[in-house]
Subunit: 358 residues, 2 copies
């Protein structure tokens, strides 16, 4: 599998993104949903921002639904009720449960004519606005269905990690359509068209007890209400996707089936991208699957950064036989690579792989 | 709050239920959905069965979707890969994650003319039949909507704890309508009629990371597809429902609002029943809530048994001003108590209680 990384990589980094407020600093511009809009390529970036920390305090940005404002709460590092050892989160000292995040993400549009050089909007397109988004909105996927663009995103708050749906027609105004999956769930990708009269989505529940971080499929009459949940395919212990997997890009229709680009992490938390093929008429049936990743972290910008060793795609475009996959690198910046579609399809093997049976 | 327990309590115990197979023993007949059907009261019991254990082996009943058979797997107690210290489950020795259950539940009909003396069907109405039910089907609720009875139940397997929907019109034949909530979720009760053109359900997600064991509400156009998930009300740390809560009986329409009988457990895992009142036209709005339980474990049959100190209702009937609540006791048998509806409504207080705000 030959991945041709763009020579311009990384395409955007935190320094290319103006902060949403003067008291916040952009630390990530990554994991972007992707769409063609008119003659532009749109990246809907996840932009992570952090408040200033000092040796004495940690700043925690939290949206308050009562006031409608995001405020930065200052926590004293000497407060023994909390554990500050993970720079990404503040945890309870006794149980090590996450209480707050040290950064907050919003969604920002970047636009390009050539798909390589992007201009970032001054203002966020989607920022926390509901109680379920108090800690941020993350990892958007954009599915064009008809002339509307549906955005699925991770809504993070003390209520848990859930999945919101929003819709835009112009990438300027957004309407929210509620939480479509309750906690804990993420990595939701909508199929770009109905199949047999129903819409489909991949999702990735995170159960508290039994069950693993595997990909499920559900269907819907209207994109807002989901049912008929079925396990689709799972992590493969011992392999590159042995610890957890989740949907990546919006599925791509090909002659051979629905091509799903998904991420997998191994036991060392290295995130790579692989592919699976689903039956065109029955997306609940897995036809084939990568045994090896189609892209694994390798370059300096993939190996080093906020969280190194991560490639994580939320969107791709098909042009003829070329797949152009945009992907977050090191939870910090955004990059792209191209593949031959037929090479990717030819590389797929046995759908079962080493899937654990229950 | 005066609860009048039936003098016949417990109404049914494991010895009243013939096992589904000669090699299994009934250890629980509890947590029953409730319905009026013709001139009968129906209890749809959760019946738990165990395989014989010996000093050398533990028997684990598992449904195999490939063969369509339930087989009892014998595990050697000396196998160091597993931990057998919890009599309810077999866990991995290294992580203490649950791998199998030592009992399997199915759903069984019991019928009565007077609501006090029940005859139990010879055969199960619902038993494991899908991969998501490999470890059993549990804790049914029955909502009559039109002339159909919709059964929501917990589907347990290695895929996690999810929620199935099935429908019957005669309590003899059942049609499954798929999983309506993915793992991890349980305690789902359907409202018995549409409100403002939409169906509603209470559900209780169990997220892996942030978030607590609280009650959410969702809506649906068709009972099979659910969206618009919202947090409804939560556990109240330090109170009788401080550790976890979940929906109990199918909500009862009253002049004052939808009466929800729900269970709560405290930090010592004592399960009691309380009530909440939801707005008639907007069930997403909590109007009032019990500060004290309406029923807490007290009698010998509630305090002692398979898991003592538990009262847990999955169904109730309203007759004039009397609420007759059926409830599982000690995860082993089924009992009933009556309340005055107006007493229960009068006992409710501030809806917020000590709810934690995010």
């Amino acid at each position: 599998m030959q991945a041709i990384r763009f020579p311009e990589n990384p395409l955007l980094t935190p320094k290319d993104v103006p902060p949403s407020r003067p008291d916040l600093k952009v630390i990530g511009a990554f994991n972007a949903g992707v769409a063609r809009y008119g003659d532009e390529v749109i990246l809907l970036l996840r932009v992570a921002e952090q408040a200033a920390a000092t040796s004495e305090t940690v700043g925690v940005p939290v949206y308050d639904p009562d006031s409608g404002q995001t405020t930065v709460r200052k926590l004293d590092r000497s407060d023994t009720a909390y554990d500050f050892s993970d720079p990404r989160a503040v945890r309870r000292a006794d149980t090590l449960e996450t209480v707050w995040l040290t950064s907050m993400s919003h969604l920002r549009v970047a636009r390009s004519r050539d798909g390589r050089h992007f201009t970032v909007d001054e203002k966020p397109l989607v920022q926390p606005e509901t109680p379920y988004e108090a800690f941020g909105v993350e990892d958007p996927r954009v599915a064009r269905i008809g002339d509307a663009y549906y955005i699925t995103y991770t809504a993070v708050s003390g209520y848990g990690v859930a999945v919101g749906l929003a819709v835009t027609r112009d990438f300027q105004r957004v309407e929210r359509l509620g939480l479509i999956f309750p906690p804990e769930n993420k990595d939701v990708v909508l199929f770009p068209e109905a199949v047999g009269g129903r819409y489909f989505a991949l999702h990735r529940p995170a159960p508290r007890g039994m069950g693993a971080l595997d990909i499920w499929i559900a269907d819907s009459p209207d994109l807002q209400h989901w049912g008929n949940h079925r396990y689709l395919f799972g992590r493969r212990p011992g392999m590159w996707d042995g610890q957890r997997i989740g949907g990546g890009a919006v599925p791509i229709r090909t002659d051979k089936g629905w091509l799903v680009l998904y991420h997998g992490a191994d036991a060392d938390n290295h995130y790579a991208m692989g592919a699976a093929l689903l039956d065109l008429d029955d997306p609940g049936r897995v036809v084939a699957r990568s045994r090896e990743p189609i892209l694994a972290p390798e370059t300096a910008y993939e190996m080093n950064g906020f969280f190194g060793g991560v490639v994580f795609s939320c969107g791709a475009l098909l042009e003829g036989d070329r797949i152009r996959m945009y992907y977050g690198v090191a939870d910090e910046a955004i990059a792209a690579a191209e593949f031959s579609l037929s090479d990717v399809l030819d590389s797929l093997g046995d759908p079962a792989g080493a899937v654990e049976r229950v």
